[in-house]
């Protein structure tokens, strides 16, 4: 196979290494829906963090866009077994939102327009691991993919990256979300194939 450059082989090998167990790669960006697609205007959009003591911290769309913006290119993994490599996002790190939030909570419930929820440990949203993403591949995030803004937590199965995000509730007790309460795994690590309740 001398016609292939070392660089080509190296890239192919690295892509295989980037595929979690039980997943297949796709060039598409499938849309999975559990309800009608909410149409949320950036004119009225807000994002609110509510602490375990009831303190609230809210940002308008303009507030969010004034925060430091980050580009991230990452692989995403859906529990329905597709993975998509090198997805390009733009948004704001959760670290920026949490800069002035005082909390002793360990868990987060994510609330979305349309009633969707998901839960995860707070530590999985911090230290550069999660964003509020508002752009994809250079364009504003479409409503079908969660626009105007969605949570992006790429190290967990993609149902944790809640579309149409409107807020986070910090809690001492872990509370199962929309899919977690009907049989999906509470944490959802694709590398440990934590798809279902008993995995």
């Amino acid at each position: 196979m001398s016609s292939f450059s070392p660089g080509f082989r190296g890239r192919a090998r690295s892509l295989a290494d980037r595929l979690p167990p039980g997943q297949y790669p796709t060039e598409q960006f499938p849309v999975l829906s559990a309800g009608p697609t909410p149409r949320v205007s950036t004119d009225t959009w807000t994002f609110t963090i509510t602490t375990e003591t009831g303190d609230t911290h809210s940002w308008t769309w303009a507030d969010m866009m004034a925060l430091p913006q980050q580009e991230t290119v990452t692989d995403i993994h859906c529990v329905t077994r597709w993975s998509k490599f090198d997805t390009p996002w733009r948004g704001v790190s959760l670290d920026a939102f949490f800069e002035d939030v005082e909390t002793a909570a360990d868990f987060v419930t994510v609330d979305s327009h349309g009633g969707y929820t998901t839960n995860l440990p707070l530590e999985d949203l911090l230290d550069g691991q999660a964003w509020i993403a508002h752009s994809y591949d250079g364009y504003p995030l479409s409503p079908e993919h969660g626009g105007p803004a969605r949570l992006l937590v790429p190290h967990l199965y993609f149902w944790k990256s809640a579309k149409w995000v409107r807020g986070l509730r910090l809690t001492h007790e872990d509370e199962p979300g929309f899919w977690e309460s009907v049989g999906y795994h509470n944490y959802g690590d694709p590398w440990r194939e934590q798809r279902n309740w008993g995995d």
Binding site: L32, S33, A34, G35, P36, T37, R39, V79, T80, G114, G115, T117, W159, E175, P176, G177, F178, W179, E180, S181, V182, G183, Y184, N196, W197, G198
Partner: protein, 90 residues
């Protein structure tokens, strides 16, 4: 609520519900607790099938039930919220 997202009709619930109910489900009468609309289960708007089936009121999109197959189990949640039943089917 305007609903321009692709959805299935409630008849697609017949198969999985037949595994846990002994009577025909699609003709079951249903009332929405949110908007008081009534009708047969077959008239619900169902989103899915993956990651699971979410059946909603065709009028206001309130959740009527959610159903997820997990190996030898079917998970069923009625009326929204995070409570659920887990049925062994095999």
């Amino acid at each position: 609520m305007a609903d321009d997202t692709a959805h299935l009709d409630g008849n697609c619930l017949a198969g999985p519900l037949s595994e846990i109910l002994s009577v025909e489900a699609t003709t079951a009468w249903w009332r929405c607790p949110e908007c008081a609309r009534t009708g047969p289960l077959a008239g619900l708007h169902v989103y899915g099938p993956d990651p699971g089936l979410t059946a909603r009121c065709p009028g206001c999109a309130h959740i009527a039930l959610r159903l997820v197959r997990d190996g030898d189990h079917i998970w069923l949640s009625l009326g929204g919220g995070t409570g659920a039943f887990r049925f062994r089917t095999a």
